[in-house]
């Protein structure tokens, strides 16, 4: 009877997780050549529109971005960054997050009866108003 009890405990132990020490599972990324084999996928969203506010001097000092969450399972919030390039002139230091803004949570797309909308917008004030030229809008899914 005791042997059966012991065997039962061992089976339970070996078939389950979470009873041991802390699980320090660092993801191992295989390296290929000089770059990491790390794939960062695009958020499941659409940028619907981008509106630039142009000052009298022809500089862009504000960017408004409208995003729709395309995820039909989870609501998401996003960090949206704007980066404007006019020749050698840039609206912000590369790598800085000054020209970024966090959106409120966008509801699940198509969620019935949800008071929130899957469409949200955010307005970013540009640190260094920059002449209108090429621009990048980066959207990071933060929740």
């Amino acid at each position: 009877m005791k042997i059966i009890l012991l065997i039962g405990i061992m089976i339970l132990s070996l078939a389950t997780v979470g009873y041991g020490a802390s699980l320090n599972s660092t993801p191992i990324v295989n390296k290929i050549g000089a770059t990491d084999n790390q794939s960062i996928s695009r958020p499941d969203m659409n940028v619907q529109s981008v509106t630039l506010r142009v000052t009298g001097g022809g500089n862009v000092d504000r960017v408004t971005v409208v995003i729709e969450n395309q995820d039909t399972i989870n609501a998401h919030a996003y960090r949206v960054c704007a980066f404007l390039i006019a020749g050698a002139e840039t609206s912000d230091t590369l790598g800085s997050d000054a020209d970024c803004n966090d959106t409120p949570v966008a509801a699940i797309k198509g969620a019935a009866g949800d008071s929130q909308s899957a469409v949200i917008n955010t307005t970013i004030d540009i640190t260094t108003p920059t002449n209108l030229s090429d621009w990048d809008i980066t959207v990071q899914e933060i929740s």
Binding site: L6, A15, N46, L132
Partner: protein, 134 residues
Amino acid sequence: MNGNFFGIAVLGIFGICIIFLFTSTGHGDVIATTPIIQKIGTIHVDDLTGYGIRILNLKNADDITAPALTFITGIPCGDDVNIFFYDGDGVLIGTGTENVTSCPTDTTITISPMADTVSTAERATLTSVTITVT
């Protein structure tokens, strides 16, 4: 006597098992730990028009069939406004051209119909938009 010995042996084995469990990892069931990497997407807009695109409106449909562009200054009559959509691999996934007729006061040009619309699946891969005036 035999009973006591057996009891002590069972307790001993049991204790070893408990110590083993609480001081080691990876001997149990499969540990499904998916690394959480925040998703990031970028849309790059290449304004090669020289007229300054103030608003890029791709509309709220899941596909892109009639993008609207608002310029700072009006486009000359008879010019074509061209738009090109690319995915992350630089593959053209949609294109359209609109001849400007309401000019030069109308600064908003809606490109419709497009020669090649951007489908819902393609829109999920959209990375770059190039706009020209010819």
